[in-house]
């Protein structure tokens, strides 16, 4: 991408914040993306193959335990994607770096797909384990609500014509939404006691899954994290290019 960079530069920040400049960001992501793609594919393949082919069945759950390699990483990423959007929104509100707003926009669809995967694998898992596809368990319910927040966030981005207005409004929505998502989590907990297991990745030994399952799971989680970053970086680049196209067209129209 050729950007007219020879113009008298307005103050350009250096250090970490310099990557908030779209050009610099694109250069950076262009360099790092191939490695990310390869790494994430490798981790995913390794983790999933390991988990699927080379782990034993659980004595209670049978072979369904293999679903954990998809379910848990996607559930983790679904939450963390929202968290990343929250941070990016805050950066946009405070420092007004466009890349940050666009990164939030780029992350949302990835987050939805992660949420969907968690929901779908959970539902499929629920059928043999609890005898039902869906139960109004707090964990599942709050995931469904998270899904709705993602949908609303994306719909708001799509609906607003002016990109900066859209960035501002979605950022406000993200902040308010986070508060309400947390509130909903507690409300849902109060409303119904659940079937779902507790956090077994936590360090307290009692509940922890056996090591045979644990290591491939870690590899899968790493794969999902890397994939997430690859996708978000790539998509942010796409958003930047779209925005630049728009800006150029607008400028040409003005003449």
């Amino acid at each position: 991408m050729s950007v007219t960079d020879d113009k008298p530069a307005i103050k350009r920040p250096s250090g970490f914040w310099s990557y908030a400049n779209p050009v610099k960001f694109l250069g950076f992501s262009e360099r790092i993306l191939p490695a990310l793609w390869v790494l994430s594919a490798a981790c995913l393949a390794l983790g999933l193959v390991w988990g699927f082919f080379f782990t034993p069945d659980d004595f209670r759950q049978g072979s369904t335990v293999k679903i954990i390699y998809l379910h848990v990483p996607s559930a983790l990423m679904a939450i963390n994607a929202w968290f990343m959007m929250l941070v990016a929104s805050l950066i946009w509100i405070v420092r007004r770096h466009h890349v940050s707003a666009l990164a939030a926009r780029a992350a949302a669809p990835v987050g939805v797909v992660m949420t969907l995967i968690a929901l779908v694998t959970g539902a499929i898992w629920g059928q043999p384990m609890w005898g039902t596809w869906w139960a109004w368990d707090p964990r599942l319910t709050s995931f469904l609500i998270l899904f709705l927040f993602y949908l609303g966030y994306i719909a708001l981005w799509e609906a607003i014509e002016d990109p900066d207005t859209a960035a501002d409004l979605t950022a406000v929505l993200c902040l308010v939404g986070t508060v309400f998502a947390v509130l909903s989590r507690y409300a849902v907990n109060f409303w119904n006691q659940g079937l779902h297991q507790g956090a077994s990745l936590s360090l307290d030994k009692e509940e922890n899954v056996a090591d045979v399952f644990y290591f491939p799971l870690l590899v899968c989680i790493a794969g999902f994290v890397l994939l997430f970053f690859a996708l978000v970086l790539y998509r942010t680049g796409t958003e930047i290019r779209l925005r630049r196209t728009r800006a150029l067209l607008a400028r040409q129209g003005r003449q």
Binding site: T64, Q127, Y234, R241, L242, L248, Q252
Partner: protein
Amino acid sequence: MPDLGKYADAVLSAYGASLVLLALLVLLTLRRGRRARAALEAVESREKKDG
């Protein structure tokens, strides 16, 4: 192929659905990216031509 026992359906469909979703996400991302690149190049070349 490991023996999945009576839960083969569940496990396979979970893997299938997830992988399809992931693949869709990646493909759509790449397609959108390529289109954006092409559109930008078209506009930029017009920009150069016009001065």
